[in-house]
């Protein structure tokens, strides 16, 4: 069974601060995706990383896939209140094409 552990579970910061969310596993993933979910809505895809060591940037968000494709991080620079939400990482396992999700990091950005 492939598991993804996310940390921290909860994060409350002030607007303008930087933060990093981690997603770790003992398993290798073919690809890893990050989603953001608002209350009562479905997850929205932010980015997909495929190659070990890959770094992708989406405005103030920087995503990195570990060299061994077992872990990933999401870094937000100068957080804004609009960044508030649940951030989920999800790994595509080898063999079966289903996503394994982490339990999420709930981010609250205070004005």
């Amino acid at each position: 069974t492939q598991l993804l552990e996310q940390s921290p579970q909860f994060l409350s910061i002030q607007e303008g601060e930087n933060l990093t969310v981690y997603c770790n596993s003992s398993s290798v993933f073919s690809s890893l995706q990050w989603y953001r979910q608002e209350p009562g809505e479905g997850p929205v895809l932010l980015v997909t990383v495929v190659t070990g060591g890959e770094v992708k940037k989406l405005k103030r968000l920087t995503f990195q896939f570990g060299d061994a494709r077992k872990d990933s991080s999401l870094h937000i620079t100068a957080a804004q209140t609009g960044d508030t939400g649940l951030y989920l990482c999800a790994g595509e396992g080898t063999g079966r094409r289903a996503l394994t999700f982490g339990s999420g990091t709930r981010l609250q950005v205070q004005p």
């Binding site: 009562g40 479905g42 997850p43 895809l45 989920l88 079966r96 996503l99 339990s103």
Partner: protein, 115 residues
């Protein structure tokens, strides 16, 4: 273009009853997957269908079943509902699960409450 649509939005059922949830994928997407998201947790994989055939099944009891129709829409059925089935049920569509990175696009979900 319309995204993934799900119906109903909310549903309240009694223990022991049966429920059917519906999903329409993004136009051109041939694969539909179902996930269960319990409050405070990440989504858990239930089923994946591609071209009307089941391609994957998660660790859920036989009370859960699904099917995909020729127009690629899908239904998820849950029989003999338990209190623990209360959750947000998410449908996700994708182009072709056999090629490239497996990017899925989620609908807004159906909130099922079992009393």
């Amino acid at each position: 273009d319309a995204g993934v649509t799900q119906s109903p939005t909310h549903l309240i059922k009694t223990r022991g009853q049966q429920v059917t949830l519906r999903c329409s994928p993004i136009s051109g997407h041939k694969s539909v997957s179902w996930y269960q998201q319990v409050l405070g947790q990440g989504p858990q994989f239930i089923f994946q269908y591609y071209e009307k055939e089941e391609r994957g099944r998660g660790n859920f009891p036989d009370r859960f079943s699904a099917r995909q129709f020729p127009n690629y829409s899908s239904e998820l059925n849950v029989n003999a509902l338990l209190l623990g089935d209360s959750a947000l049920y998410l449908c996700a569509s994708s182009l072709d699960p056999g090629r490239g990175a497996y990017e899925q696009y989620f609908g807004p979900g159906t909130r099922l409450t079992v009393t």
